[in-house]
């Protein structure tokens, strides 16, 4: 906990700065609007060494700017200020009509609902294992998007230079072209509205990437970042498919998602033979309850005044994530070039409390219970692990 003092001071300074900056949206006439953005997330997790200490981590430090020039051009630039200096979103979006727009730059590959949800809007501190580990990241690409059929159907179709996940190979990811498409359906069309049918959205997505020879596959990591499945070597096509549902009628909301990815392992055997593909798949179902009602929560989320408990939410999630080769017998020996890989599964429950004080500050607390079932004997022990974690978000 002693290590957290400088972090907390930094957080408070950031909060003060962002509060001031929040009022400084720059407008030039009606046509141009520029808004600065900043985010600091501070996580409190049980230390790896069980000495009763708490690790304090600046999980996110970002600054950026977004805005629009006329009704037809929007832009966004965001960068990490955590020492890596990585660019996050750097794109321009031209919208000719509601039915068609074009986005170009560096941004998220459209695939998973949860991965596309911004950190400030997540119901839990950590994304589900499936979304976190399987969904594509950001890449340079070109995207066509819009809503058609009386705004019932939304679509995103894009081509990217990579899938935004890390490879162990040196050099740029440009040799892994990715094509992704996502379609969403709102039965009532138009913007989402409160009500049984008006606030439901269903999505399906697919993405295909061409993986470079000798690339590392997906890996398995617990919420605590401990690894339970070491990556294997893959090459060839990576095919992702997914489906999701989001329904928020009144104070209650339900969200679910299923994601699957198959990595080819062409010529990755010890003698160059092609191996059975690695399949990574997972799902989650989560529920959230705005204790004081959705409208009260929205008020807390929109204004600067602290709204007391109006912004309180209770949330729960159950999920599963597994990796292995389909049909592999139990107790296969894991190597990076193993012919078959026994399935390793992580099952988790998450209970959470979210308290949105105002539009700037949000406090989250989660308790995560995870259990790994390992048929190959190489992963973490099979006992359940509870991981408490809390986060203070300061954002504008």
């Amino acid at each position: 906990m002693t290590r957290g003092l400088p972090v907390l001071i930094g957080t408070l300074l950031a909060a003060a700065w962002s509060t001031t900056a929040a009022a400084q949206s720059l407008r030039i006439g009606e046509a141009i609007r520029i808004e600065p953005k900043a985010r600091v997330d501070v996580d409190f997790r049980a230390a790896e060494v069980d000495d009763g200490d708490v690790d304090v981590d600046l999980a996110r430090r970002r600054v950026g700017v977004s805005g629009r020039v006329t009704r037809h051009l929007e832009f966004e630039v965001e960068r990490e200020v955590d020492g890596t200096g990585r660019w996050r979103d750097v794109f321009a979006d031209v919208r000719a009509t509601r039915a068609i727009g074009v986005r170009a730059g560096h941004f998220k590959v459209p695939f998973s609902r949860e991965q596309l949800t911004g950190a400030g809007d997540l119901d839990f501190i950590d994304r589900s294992r499936a979304a976190d580990l399987l969904a594509p990241g950001r890449s340079v690409g070109l995207l066509v998007h819009g809503r058609v059929a009386r705004r019932i159907v939304g679509y995103d179709v894009g081509t990217f230079v990579g899938d935004g996940t890390r490879s162990r190979l040196p050099g740029p990811e440009s040799a892994e072209p990715t094509v992704a498409a996502r379609v969403t359906v709102r039965p009532r069309g138009g913007p989402r509205r409160a009500g049984a049918i008006g606030d439901v959205e269903i999505g399906v997505a697919a993405a295909t990437s061409e993986l470079r020879d000798g690339r590392a596959s997906f890996r398995g990591r617990l919420t605590s970042s401990d690894q339970f499945f070491s990556p294997v070597l893959v090459s060839g096509r990576r095919l992702r498919v997914g489906g999701d549902l989001d329904w928020r009628p009144g104070p209650f909301g339900v969200r679910g998602e299923f994601l699957r990815a198959d990595d080819a392992r062409q010529h990755q055997g010890l003698m160059g033979e092609t191996l059975a593909p690695l399949r990574a798949q997972g799902w989650y179902v989560s529920g959230v309850w705005a204790v004081a009602g959705r409208s009260a929560h929205a008020r807390a989320n929109d204004g600067f005044a602290v709204q007391g408990l109006a912004g309180l939410e209770l949330a729960a999630r159950v999920e599963q994530f597994s990796l292995g080769t389909p049909g592999a017998p139990a107790a296969q020996i894991w190597t990076p070039r193993a012919e078959q890989l026994s399935t390793v599964t992580d099952r988790a429950w998450t209970l959470g409390v979210n308290w949105t004080l105002n539009r700037l500050v949000r406090i989250q607390a989660n308790a995560v219970r995870e259990r790994v079932t390992d048929r190959s004997r190489i992963a973490a022990p099979g006992h359940a692990v509870w991981s408490p974690v809390a986060r203070v978000q300061v954002a504008m």
Partner: protein, 411 residues
């Protein structure tokens, strides 16, 4: 692509042939002694993905493991882990290798072994130093690793002449000492580290382990307190109490005998090395505080030359470069006697029917053709022959020189 396919077919045929033979002769009574039998030139084959082999050679300073098949005679061991190894001997053209049979499957053994070392011998033009030195240690009853020369093939291509060396691990401990539950440390010398010669660094175990005493067993709880207490006893006890006090922590006679064998072998990088201590393991017997020393890596043996004094690095260097333990031990008449007697014993063994010279000649004859074909070795064939001749001369003359040195030394 065609070349890759041909290689794949050839390797598959090799592997399938080997596997077939394995099933046919699984009951053949082979044990590790046959693998380390230096009466013949052994042959080991590794099947590794060509990209992995290229990666290992390109990143030879890394300890990354790669999956491989290990083939010896008619035995095939699947899913072994191999990695580059060594300190000064690390090489990208002829990588020294560690083979862990249980890297990916904890239950997997081969001939009772969990692992072994394929030493590349790139610091020795004769490629004989290590083998000859370990033979002498073994003749004196010291717990030395077994080893033999081996032609190594990787993906059916000759990778060079190597030595297959028994790893110092729990299997070794059980075989030599009948127990494996004690604390085993590898002396881990890094050229960037300050030389260490058993000076007392204080009572904190962290001053001794994981550096320079790297735990090989009990890695999570290396318990280096006895090493710290041993260093204190070496430094702080009176002459009268020295032998009793240090014997609580170290098999002193064994340590002195080990130093004597290295002195006979004109070793420059051992217990009394030019850069502090190096190239040994320390094993603390289970349930006791007493350790013993195990020799390792004798590539630098013979390098001080046939005329090297038996007191080299003992009393012919400034006090700050002297080994604290050796200085104190040599002040004890009994231990000094052990040192000199062991040197004489080495001389006797070496000269007995020309044993040492015979060993050099026999081993050189055995490996000559393999050396000639070894394109990865950093020495020419002419340099090999010259070094072999130097070793023959050493073996011929060393006993006489050491006996005379001992005769002149006060007891």
């Amino acid at each position: 692509m065609r070349a890759t396919l041909s290689a794949t077919v050839a390797l598959a045929a090799l592997l399938l042939g080997s596997v077939a033979r394995t099933h046919a002769q699984d009951t053949a009574p082979l044990d590790a002694a046959a693998l380390f039998d230096d009466g013949q030139l052994q042959e080991i084959r590794l099947v590794v993905n060509p990209r992995d082999w290229a990666d290992l050679k390109a990143n030879f300073q890394s300890n990354t493991y790669y999956a491989a098949y290990f083939i010896w005679r008619d035995r095939v061991v699947k899913n072994v882990g191999i990695r580059s190894r060594g300190t000064g001997s690390r090489s990208g053209s002829k990588p020294g290798l560690r083979v862990d049979f249980n890297r990916f499957d904890e239950s997997q053994h081969f001939l009772g072994l969990k692992s072994l070392v394929l030493r590349n011998n790139v610091q020795d033009a004769s490629q004989l130093h290590e083998r000859i030195a370990m033979r002498l240690f073994a003749r004196l009853g010291r717990p030395a690793p077994r080893e033999a020369h081996v032609r190594l093939y990787v993906n059916d291509a000759y990778a060079g002449l190597y030595s297959v060396v028994e790893a110092i691990d729990k299997v070794f401990l059980a075989d030599r000492f009948g127990q494996d539950g004690g604390y085993l440390y590898e002396y881990d010398y890094d050229p960037a580290d300050a030389p260490y010669r058993f000076e007392y660094r204080g009572a904190q175990p962290a001053a001794y382990s994981p550096k320079p005493f790297k735990p090989v067993t009990h890695e999570q709880d290396p318990d280096a307190r006895p090493i710290a207490e041993m260093a204190r006893a070496i430094t702080e006890t009176s002459d009268a109490d020295f032998q009793t006090a240090v014997s609580n922590y170290l098999h002193l006679e064994g340590w002195v005998a080990h130093a004597a064998v290295e002195a006979f072998l004109a070793e420059t990088d051992g217990l009394l090395g030019d850069w502090g201590m190096n190239n040994f393991y320390l094993y603390r017997f289970q349930g006791t505080s007493v350790s013993t020393v195990i020799p390792w890596d004798k590539s630098e043996a013979f390098k001080a030359g046939v005329g090297a004094s038996v007191w080299r690095n003992v009393d012919d260097v400034p006090p700050s470069n002297r080994n604290a333990l050796m200085v104190r031990a040599m002040q004890q008449p009994a231990l000094r006697g052990v040192y000199l007697d062991t040197l004489l014993w080495c001389a006797t063994i070496a000269d007995e029917s020309g044993w040492l010279e015979g060993e050099v000649r026999r081993a050189a004859d055995q490996i000559r053709e393999a050396v000639r074909e070894d394109r990865a070795a950093p020495f020419t064939f002419e340099e090999f022959e010259a070094e072999v001749q130097r070793l023959i001369d050493f073996a011929h003359d060393r006993g006489t020189i050491v006996r005379e040195d001992v005769r002149r030394s006060p007891r």
